[in-house]
């Protein structure tokens, strides 16, 4: 193996592949990155058995070949190289990397074959990187962050009635996001993507109106964009039947500026040091009152809001409301709720493509 390449495309490629380098698996090969050079291209692959990423970029090949190097070392080294030409050359059991007057000899960590790259054949979707990012970002935060209930620790990718939805819930709150654009090529489908994978995928997206093609097969999902394939294992099991918990009609509707509500609840939650106290939300004839009372003291704020329906009050975990308000980027939000043990709905005031359902706290 012998090739020459510019630092900048090399860095972009390793920054993507790095997301699949294992940091804690005892199998040493999973901490590696495979470098495979053919006549015109360099292909880099990492695979931690949860996520596998492969990316291909052009290079000047002098001699084809392949080698597995320590992923962490290779990534850090490329980041710290000056903007310059970089040459890779395999000699004996080392790969020599030279840039200007610098020379580094990296030991090949194994001669074994890299784990097979997951194979997904059935194309199910095509959508832009922006839309995928929006779906992931607005759902991910609501997934359970413990591993006691595996199906809730992921995000449901649902194709149903010709619509694409991302849904996540930790069983106390639920976020439902519907795609507005994109091409759906599959019939009804329910796949649960591990939260960690989706999170890493979001970081890899170019966010420049690139089309992402999504493939499914062998309990794996593959996202293909530019010259990269990102695959993830799926979570087995059944996502709870969430449709019945989505109520869009509530007795009280309040419309107000997202920032205003966010900041008020943020201030109230200063009084909740243990993270378990409820914030009380009360609406009386167009005046919204937000308050919290704990052993540290109490907070109270009032606003004039657009109010329709009854007067009433209820109590919620401030964290759950803040999670939603911090993630969405709309200007005006609608907050619909009822007095009593019934779920509330928070959504952008002018659209229904993101519905956030949360249960109150019993006080």
């Amino acid at each position: 193996m012998h090739f020459q390449i510019e630092k900048s495309p090399l860095l972009n490629a390793i920054n993507v592949v790095e997301k699949a380098i294992s940091s804690n698996n005892p199998l040493q090969i999973l901490a590696g990155v495979e470098i495979d050079v053919n006549k015109k291209h360099l292909t880099m692959t990492a695979n931690n058995l949860e996520i596998a990423i492969r990316t291909t970029i052009p290079c000047n090949t002098l001699k084809p070949g392949k080698a597995i190097l320590d992923g962490k070392l290779l990534t850090s080294l490329i980041r710290k190289l000056p903007e310059d030409n970089v040459v890779f050359e395999m000699k004996d059991k080392q790969v020599i990397i030279t840039a200007g007057t610098m020379e580094f000899a990296l030991n090949i960590i194994t001669e074994d074959e890299f784990p097979a790259f997951p194979d997904c054949n059935e194309k199910i979707l095509a959508l832009t990187d922006y839309e995928l990012h929006r779906l992931a970002q607005n759902s991910l935060f609501a997934a359970a962050n413990d591993d006691m209930r595996p199906v809730l620790s992921g995000v449901l990718l649902e194709i149903s009635d010709g619509k694409l939805n991302f849904v996540a819930t930790d069983s106390n709150r639920l976020s439902f996001v519907q795609a507005n654009t994109g091409e759906i090529l599959s019939s009804d489908l329910h796949l649960i993507i591990p939260s960690k994978s989706l999170n890493e995928l979001m970081k890899c997206l170019p966010l420049d109106e690139t089309m992402i093609e999504v493939f499914y097969g062998n309990n794996q999902l593959a996202f293909r964009f530019d010259n990269t394939i990102f695959t993830t294992r799926l979570i087995e099991g059944n996502f709870p039947n969430y449709r019945p918990v989505i109520h869009t009609e509530q007795a009280i509707t309040v419309v107000m500026k997202r920032h205003q509500l966010l900041q008020a609840i943020d201030r109230a939650s200063l009084f909740d040091r243990g993270g378990s106290q409820p914030v009380i939300i009360q609406v009386t004839d167009g005046v919204l009152e937000i308050g919290m009372s704990t052993e540290l003291g109490k907070s109270s704020e009032q606003f004039n809001v657009e109010h329709s329906g009854e007067n009433g009050s209820s109590a919620y975990s401030p964290k759950y409301i803040l999670d939603m308000l911090r993630t969405t980027d709309c200007d005006q939000i609608a907050f619909k709720f009822e007095t009593g043990p019934r779920q509330a709905l928070i959504k952008p005031a002018d659209s229904d493509d993101h519905l956030y359902i949360l249960m109150p706290m019993r006080i």
């Binding site: 106390n172 918990v245 243990g274």
Partner: protein, 384 residues
């Protein structure tokens, strides 16, 4: 010799319903479920309902069969707790040492307070009057030299009762009572006593403590003293609970994971039982492991959702134990902390299921003997 007062509200939940709905007065009121409830059980019923043979823990469907025209009410726990708080607020005016037993029951240590009253009867009457004035409800009061006798006394003239047992009257009061009246004697122990020919307390008196211990084990000591009206348990004023836990030291160091798992199962049930009896929800679970060489570790996990069911305690504790590299274990403990009474409700009703299951098991264990019903996972002691 002390003076202990036991206060027990009469048919409490039913009485609160009658208080709030005067038209129910004099009618059979059954709290616990709707008339068409298939699975509810009677939680409390008015004395009129008891005349039909209805009693607590009976299935609602059976109660409906016995008394079709009865007033069946699902129950309003929040309201009962409100009245309970009113009642419990009265006790500290009478004694600094109060041990609340449940929503409608408490022991008061009145030792040293006797001279404030012209007689023990007047002491009891004063408390009954105060409860009636503040809440409109009747209570039964028993006054005796210790907790065991005070509880028997409050039950003696129920409802609206007041009964005093003085030291010199104890023996006479006790001797003809059936053995089932002895505190701690449930259905199983009762049978064991009957097999020995012990039907009444006076049947126990001729036997030595050793004779009883030889035949009944530690229960022997217990009934030897109680049959003589001797009970040294103090009235324990409730302190704010910060942690509830259990631990066991093993006779031999243990290496079997299935055994340790079953021990966690047993401890989870004990901790869960106490947690629910305090009406609390916890958010943090901690295990303590002491190894053969006395190295001791504690590991904790805090969850988002407050819990009070055995399953959550067990699975979280097991998870913590599984993450440890195990050497032979000398001591194992489970505790829960970080209590809250505010409760995040669930969208899918899944947590409620665990909680309901634990509550049903509690009810069964309360009615029969402790351990009547348990989870299979607690019984794997012999597996290796």
């Amino acid at each position: 010799m002390g003076t202990i007062m036991h206060v027990d509200m009469d048919a409490f939940f039913a009485a609160v319903e009658i208080l709030d709905n005067p038209q129910y007065a004099g009618k059979p009121v059954i709290v616990g479920g709707h008339k068409d409830s298939k699975r509810g059980v009677v939680s409390t019923c008015s004395y009129e309902a008891r005349k039909y043979g209805i009693h607590s823990a009976m299935p609602i469907s059976r109660a409906v069969a016995l008394c079709p025209h009865g007033i069946f009410i699902p129950g309003r726990m929040k309201r009962y707790q409100e009245v309970s708080a009113q009642i419990h607020a009265i006790f500290p005016k009478f004694s600094p040492i109060v041990e609340p037993l449940s929503v409608d029951e408490a022991f008061l240590d009145m030792t040293g307070c006797e001279h404030f009253y012209s007689s023990l009867e007047q002491m009891g009457q004063t408390l009954k009057n105060e409860i009636r004035k503040q809440t409109g409800l009747t209570a039964s009061v028993g006054i005796a030299p210790n907790k065991f006798l005070a509880k028997l006394a409050s039950d003696w003239e129920k409802p609206d009762g007041l009964f005093v047992i003085r030291t010199h009257e104890v023996q006479e009061f006790l001797q003809d009572l059936p053995v089932s009246k002895i505190w701690g004697v449930g259905k199983k122990s009762e049978q064991a006593l009957h097999q020995l020919g012990l039907y009444h307390i006076h049947d126990i008196l001729p036997h030595s403590e050793q004779w009883l211990v030889d035949r009944l084990g530690s229960l022997g000591t217990h009934i030897y003293y109680l049959a003589r009206g001797i009970d040294h348990r103090p009235v324990e004023a409730e302190q704010e609970v910060k942690s509830i836990g259990h631990e066991v030291t093993f006779h031999d160091d243990q290496t079997s994971f299935p055994f340790l798992r079953s021990q966690l199962g047993q401890m989870a049930e004990k901790v869960g039982w106490r947690l629910r009896n305090h009406g609390l929800y916890a958010r943090t679970i901690t295990i303590k492991v002491r190894f053969h060489n006395f190295r001791t570790i504690t590991r904790s996990h805090t969850v988002q959702n407050p819990f009070c069911d055995d399953d959550t305690i067990f699975s979280e504790a097991l998870h913590l134990l599984e993450n440890e590299k195990l050497e032979p274990v000398r001591l194992l403990g489970v505790s829960v902390t970080n209590f809250t009474t505010d409760l995040q409700l669930s969208l899918f009703d899944e947590r409620d299921q665990g909680e309901k299951l634990s509550q049903v098991m509690d009810q069964i264990n309360r009615q029969f003997t402790h351990g009547t019903i348990t989870k299979g996972r607690t019984l794997l002691n012999d597996l290796d």
